[in-house]
Every structure is written in structure tokens, then in C-alpha cells.
């Protein structure tokens, strides 16, 4: 059915209905009935008010987004006026007030409804906001005025016609309703807009009842009929606006969906990762710009290819395997790192994540997300290459270190074994000479032989020291937490036992624990405390102190004595092997102790240094840099 035909039918039905209504009305009028029923009247008018205000409310609620005074709003305003005045009309006592409330509502409503035809143009937002209050206020004021001025009028003659003033006001309203109806219906026949038909119908029905009012009397002539027509008119409006609001809501939802679609499209197109839809057989169905950038093809070229075409042959098997699993519903998605071959033939590393969309239990298309990880992979490759190179270097160095170590081992062995043999012969045969031929030698010869023996034994001692020194750097370290104070106490007790006659004050602080090798630290403390013991031997009252202090946030141990001390000018020789700052005549020793201490402290990643003043004493400081997680096992 065309809109034209529909319009023709609608208008015909409408005209027929109006004619019918008028005919019915005048027929009832001719019966000269009088029917006073205030409760029925009040109920009808309340319904009119309720319908009017409800429709007005809905129009405002659902059409308020634009801040524009459309014809809907004008209709709403007129419905407010009619509604408010109908309420008063319903509540008014019999008489002139009752009539005037009705007539005033019709008049204001008709004027505003006429405006509805012209008011498509936009008014200011503030007017739109404030106008309803104005209309309510105006309707209220008019109603109150009528209400109080006509309160004392009582009606006795129910066959009374309406006054001339009432009739002329109503007549004006009828005229305006009719004019409005004609305008809307004419436009409807021109433009076929539903809104014009509904508004026209509404106005025509109101015009009909107003027209009939002119020929009616109070409580006579089927007043209930025109009230029903009024309700029908409002029902038409109500029906129209329900449809309108539904349509608006749908339109709004569609707008939302459109918006979402646009956003999704933008997400797909402008994502910073490559995105694509791929058919189950591998054809690119939809690709975004980023993916084109990654593979170096443009959209048209890519859509003519499959993912198999551009996947590196070495990665294809794995990829196809996953695809098969997905199609077989063995997995929901997969992620893999693989290579594409770009249009220019170069290879690019990407991370691929794929999921499969099903439709009617058939695989529809794959959703693929492709991230360019080329730089990352290449950086990793570079790091790996570097690591391999480093490992090779370390292995090389380890081999040469091992060689050096083995050589040293062999050297040590030979020193220990071979150098001692001649010394033993020298000493042994000197002894044999002394024993067997001593009587044939004079005292000088015997003295020489004795010197030979002393010298060879001293050399043996030096060899032993040398071996010991080398052993300190070679033995495996087994570091653990040890109590240095306890260790120092037992060492000092040994010294005291050897020379009980000496007067020595020993001060050992508490809490000197350290993470170090027990055996090696014993060597360190034995040497340092032994030096302190030795170099204080010429002082009548010795003080030896072992404690700890803080320097630059580091824990520093120290061993202090008030002994012979040394000249700080030679301090750099102190920790070198076989370097001595005192003669053997002054103090016995071979210059190996502090060298050993230095090596052991170094193996513990620590430092050792000294401060001394001649005849005032020496302080040896050391740190132990080793802590449990820092310990590095030496190559064995």
C-alpha cells in the first residue's frame, strides 16, 4: 500500500468519523436529555488531565536531548495547559468556574497547538527549558482567577445555555483548533508525514467537541459524549507519542550500534598491531594497514594471497599444524613466533595469535593478530651470538688458565721434590763428614760444615714457605659464617702457653663474625696476631687488640699492637713475599706471613692495609668482601 493511498484512506475515515460524531451529537441533542453527574464528569476530566500531563511528561523526557523547541515541545506545552486547567475543571463546583476552566484550557491549548505548526525552527535552549514552567504558571493563574471569582455562582436551571463570553472564548478555541487541524492535514496530504496526520486528527477532534459546545447547554445535550471525544483525541496523541518514543529509542540504539561499528572499524584499521580475518583455507579476507606495513604488500595485493604464500617455509608446518588443531576443535587459539617473507623478499619475525570464529557449527574465519617482533628477535640473536662468543672466550681462557695452573702444579711438585733432594744430600753428607771424619778436621773446618748444614736447612725452610704460600692460593675455599673472636682467643692462648712469662694485655671485641674460609682465616689470624705477639716482645708491657670498626660503610677488622712498628715509607713492601722491614737479628722471620695474609684476604674479595709508627705500634686493617651469595667458586 502506498503512502498516498494510506493517506487517502486515513483522511476519508477521519472525515467520516467526524461527520458521524457530529450526527450522533446532534441526534442526542435533539433528545433534550439532562444528565447531572458530577462524579462521572470529574473522573473524565481527571483522565483528560492525567493523559495530557503524562504525554507532556514523556515528550519532555524523551525529546529533551536536543535543546530545541520542536513542535513536540509545543504540543507538550499545550497539553500541560489543558491538563492543569482540566484538573481545576474536574475539581470545580457546578457553575461558571467549571465552564471557564474548561474553556480557558481549550483556548490556551488551541493557541499553543497552532504554534506547533510553525515551531520547527529552533528556539534558544533557555527558552526551551523555562517555557514549561511559564505555561504551568500561566494556566495555574488563569485557573485560580476563574476559580475564586466565580465561586458563588450556583446553577439551578440545567437547561441554561452557556454565557455569550463563554461561547465566544470557546468559539475562538474551536476556530483555532480547526485552523490548526486544516494546516496539519494539508501538510500531511502534501508530505505524508505521520506526525501531521496525528496532530491534525487530534486538533480536528478537539475542534469538533468545541464546535458542539457552541450548541450545547449545561449538563444537557450529551456533554459526556464530547468528553469521551476529548479523551479519544488525547488517546490519539498518546498513541502517536508512544510510537514516536519507541521509534526514537530504536533510532538511538541503531545510532549506538553504528557508533560501535565505526569504533570497531577504527580499532581494526588503526590498531598498532597487524590484524586480519583469514578464511579457513588461508586466504586473507580483511587486513589492516599495519599488517600491510609489516609484510610490505598493499591491501589489494595481500587480499589476493594466502597466509601460506607469505609464511617462511620453515615455519609453515608448525602453523598449519595449529590451524588443523583449531579446525578439529582441539584448541581454541594459538600463538607462535614465526617469519613472514615480505614483498621485497626480506624476512620479518612476528608474533602471531589466532582464534577461530564459528558460524552454524562451521568454521567461518580466523582472527589473526600479528605483532612485529623483528627487532626484538634480532637483538636476541645478537645477544645470543655475543653470549656464545663470550662462552667460547671463557672456555678458551679456562683452558689456558688450567694449563697455567697445571704447570704451576708441576712446578710446585718439582720444587717440593727435586729442590729438596740436593739439600738433603748437602746436609746429610756434611753430617756424615762431621761424624765419620770429625776427628780429622780442625775446628774451623767443623764450623764450616756446621754452617753448610744451617744454610741448607734454612733453604729447605724457604722452600717450605714458598710451597705454603702457593698452597694458600690454590686450596678450595669453603666459606661459612665463623667467629673470628673465638678463633683469635684460641690462637692467643697458644702464644701464651709458649711464652707464659710475657706480660701481654689482649683485648678481643665481641661479635666478630665473618663469612670466610675457616682454615684460611686461621692462617690470617695466626700470622697477624703472631706478628703482634712477636713485635711487642721487646716491650715490657704489650697490648694487642682485635676489633672491628666502620669505614665508608664497610666493616673493617683491625689488629693493633703497641710494638716496634715500622717506617711508613716502606709500607708498600709490607705485603710482598720475602720482603722484611726488620733484620733477622732484630726479629726472626722470613717475610712470608703478611704476603700470605694479603693473598688470603684477596681471595675473600677483601682489602688489607697497615698503619704504623716506629716504637708506637702497628695496626693492620682488613675487610672481607665475601658474602654468601657473592662467593664464586674457583676453577678446580
Amino acid at each position: 500500500m502506498t503512502t498516498k493511498m494510506l493517506a487517502a484512506i486515513r483522511i476519508s475515515v477521519l472525515i467520516a468519523a467526524i461527520v458521524g460524531i457530529l450526527a450522533l451529537s446532534f441526534w442526542i441533542r435533539s433528545l433534550e436529555l439532562v444528565y447531572v453527574n458530577i462524579p462521572l464528569h470529574s473522573m473524565m476530566e481527571s483522565m483528560v488531565a492525567l493523559l495530557s500531563l503524562t504525554v507532556a511528561f514523556f515528550i519532555y523526557k524523551f525529546d529533551a536531548g536536543d535543546h530545541v523547541l520542536t513542535r513536540h515541545h509545543v504540543v507538550a506545552l499545550s497539553l500541560i495547559a489543558i491538563g492543569v486547567l482540566s484538573l481545576f475543571h474536574a475539581a470545580a463546583p457546578e457553575g461558571s468556574v467549571l465552564v471557564w476552566c474548561y474553556v480557558a484550557g481549550r483556548l490556551i491549548g488551541s493557541v499553543l497547538l497552532m504554534g506547533g505548526f510553525f515551531s520547527e525552527r529552533q528556539l534558544s535552549a533557555s527558552l526551551f527549558r523555562r517555557l514549561p514552567y511559564g505555561v504551568v504558571g500561566m494556566a495555574f493563574t488563569v485557573a485560580l482567577m476563574i476559580y475564586f471569582q466565580g465561586y458563588d455562582i450556583t446553577v439551578t436551571d440545567y437547561s441554561n445555555a452557556f454565557t455569550a463570553a463563554e461561547k465566544s472564548a470557546n468559539g475562538l478555541a474551536a476556530l483555532l483548533f480547526f485552523l490548526g487541524a486544516i494546516l496539519f492535514l494539508r501538510r500531511y496530504l502534501r508530505e505524508y508525514q505521520n506526525i501531521d496526520f496525528y496532530f491534525g486528527t487530534f486538533l480536528l477532534l478537539l475542534a469538533t467537541t468545541s464546535f458542539y459546545f457552541q450548541f450545547s447547554r449545561l449538563w444537557a445535550g450529551g456533554w459526556w459524549l464530547w468528553h469521551i471525544i476529548n479523551l479519544i483525541a488525547l488517546g490519539v496523541m498518546f498513541y502517536y507519542f508512544i510510537g514516536y518514543i519507541e521509534a526514537e529509542k530504536k533510532r538511538w540504539m541503531e545510532g549506538r550500534i553504528d557508533e560501535e561499528r565505526i569504533k570497531f572499524m577504527a580499532t581494526f584499521e588503526q590498531a598498532a598491531v597487524g590484524m586480519a580475518h583469514v578464511s579457513p583455507d588461508g586466504k586473507w579476507l580483511k587486513v589492516n594497514q599495519k599488517l600491510c606495513d609489516i609484510v610490505g604488500y598493499n591491501q589489494e595485493e595481500l587480499l589476493g594471497l594466502t597466509f601460506q604464500n607469505i609464511t617462511h617455509p620453515d615455519d609453515l608446518m608448525e602453523d598449519l599444524h595449529y590451524v588443523e588443531e583449531m579446525l578439529g576443535q582441539k584448541r581454541d587459539n594459538y600463538t607462535m613466533r614465526k617469519r613472514y617473507i615480505r614483498k621485497n623478499g626480506s624476512i620479518i619475525w612476528i608474533d602471531l595469535s589466532v582464534s577461530l570464529i564459528w558460524k552454524n557449527k562451521q568454521p567461518d574465519f580466523f582472527v589473526a593478530v600479528i605483532v612485529d617482533v623483528d627487532e626484538e628477535v634480532k637483538a636476541k640473536e645478537a645477544i645470543n651470538a655475543f653470549t656464545v662468543e663470550l662462552e667460547n672466550k671463557v672456555a678458551e681462557r679456562t683452558v689456558s688458565l688450567q694449563n697455567a695452573y697445571d704447570e704451576m702444579e708441576a712446578f710446585t711438585y718439582s720444587v717440593s721434590h727435586d729442590l729438596r733432594s740436593p739439600l738433603r744430600a748437602t746436609d746429610g753428607f756434611s753430617q756424615a763428614l762431621l761424624e765419620d771424619y770429625g776427628d780429622k778436621l780442625d775446628s774451623t773446618a767443623r764450623d764450616y760444615l756446621a754452617r753448610i748444614r744451617v744454610a741448607s736447612q734454612k733453604m729447605a725452610g724457604l722452600i717450605d714457605d714458598l710451597l705454603q704460600l702457593s698452597r694458600q692460593t690454590r686450596t678450595d675455599m669453603k666459606p661459612k659464617t665463623i667467629d673470628l673472636a673465638e678463633m683469635a682467643r684460641s690462637i692467643m692462648a697458644e702464644f701464651r702457653a709458649q711464652e707464659p712469662e710475657r706480660s701481654v694485655d689482649v683485648v678481643i671485641n665481641q661479635g666478630l663474625s665473618a663469612y670466610a674460609d675457616l682454615h684460611l682465616m686461621n692462617v690470617v689470624l695466626t700470622n697477624l696476631l703472631g706478628n703482634a705477639w712477636k713485635y711487642t716482645s721487646k716491650h715490657p708491657h704489650a697490648i694487642i687488640e682485635f676489633g672491628k670498626t666502620q669505614q665508608n660503610g664497610e666493616r673493617v677488622f683491625y689488629i693493633r699492637d703497641n710494638g716496634a712498628g715500622f717506617d711508613m715509607a716502606y709500607v708498600n713492601k709490607l705485603f710482598k713475599p720475602f720482603q722484611r722491614l726488620h733484620t733477622v737479628q732484630e726479629f726472626a722471620g722470613n717475610g712470608i706471613g703478611l704476603a700470605m695474609v694479603s693473598r688470603i684476604i684477596k681471595r675473600h674479595f677483601g682489602k688489607v692495609w697497615a698503619h704504623s709508627e716506629i716504637e708506637k705500634g702497628t695496626t693492620i686493617y682488613f675487610t672481607l668482601g665475601l658474602s654468601a651469595p657473592l662467593y664464586i667458586k674457583e676453577p678446580s
Partner: protein, 145 residues
């Protein structure tokens, strides 16, 4: 005690002379047979080479064994002795100038009975050899007896 011989395996003639002297000074009067290297010692003990036909049941009362030997090393000789069912009861005292710990441990692991580090000081050497020699000779007597 005097009827059994001592086998000294030592390549250094100086040390041989000094050891013999030390034994004499320690009043150990057993016959001493000297092997200059490990190979010769094994030949002697097992009746091979130039000692072919020697009565191998005539075991030494004590073997003094240097570790650093030409051709066959001291440890190999020790191993051969200690794996032989007859010889394994013969006490072996390792005589060496090496004080390297691994040597000591390895020697004991392989069944050496004692370890003497030849000191440079001859008097100490005499004392040690005399004591150890006497001790092991006596032990041997006890076992045999």
C-alpha cells in the same frame, strides 16, 4: 729379624747412601736390596726380566718406596704390591720429599702403611727411619710368627 731383607726403591744415589746410613745408624742390620727404578723393583718382586727365576716367595720384610721414580712411578709399584695376594702383607713405607697432601692421601688409599717425608735435617731423618723401620719390621715378625 736379621734374616729378612729390606727392599729400597730409590733412584737418587745420594738418597740411597743417606738411607743406608740412616738404617745403619738406627741399628737396623737387615740386608738392603736397592732398586734404582720402579720397573726394576717390579721385575725383582715378581721374578721377571733380569731377575727371572728368582724365588718370589722370598718376600722382603719391608719395602721403602720413593714416589718419584723414573720409568714406573712409585704409585704404580705400590699398586702392584698391594694387589698381589702374597706381597700385599708386606709393609710399605713411602719415602719421599713431597709433602703434597694429595700424595699422602693417595698413598694411604692405595694401602701404604706409613709415610716418611725425607727431611733435610739428617739427624731427624735417621731418627724417623730408625723408628719406622723398627716398628714395621717388628710388626712383620709378629704376623709371620
Amino acid at each position: 729379624m736379621t734374616n729378612k731383607y729390606i727392599l729400597l726403591v730409590e733412584d737418587n744415589p745420594d738418597d740411597v747412601a743417606l738411607t743406608l746410613r740412616a738404617l745403619k745408624k738406627g741399628h737396623i742390620l737387615n740386608e738392603v736390596i736397592v732398586s734404582e727404578d720402579g720397573a726394576k723393583a717390579l721385575d725383582f718382586l715378581f721374578g721377571k726380566g733380569e731377575f727371572k727365576g728368582r724365588d718370589t716367595t722370598d718376600c722382603p720384610a719391608l719395602i721403602l718406596l720413593d714416589l718419584k721414580l723414573p720409568k714406573v712411578g712409585g704409585f704404580e709399584v705400590l699398586e702392584a704390591i698391594k694387589t698381589d695376594p702374597c706381597l700385599k702383607r708386606t709393609p710399605v713405607v713411602i719415602l719421599t720429599s713431597s709433602r703434597q697432601e694429595e700424595d699422602v692421601v693417595r698413598g694411604y688409599d692405595m694401602g701404604a702403611n706409613s709415610y716418611i717425608r725425607k727431611p733435610v735435617n739428617f739427624e731427624t731423618f735417621v731418627e724417623t727411619v730408625a723408628q719406622l723401620g723398627m716398628y714395621w719390621l717388628m710388626i712383620n715378625e709378629a704376623v709371620e710368627g
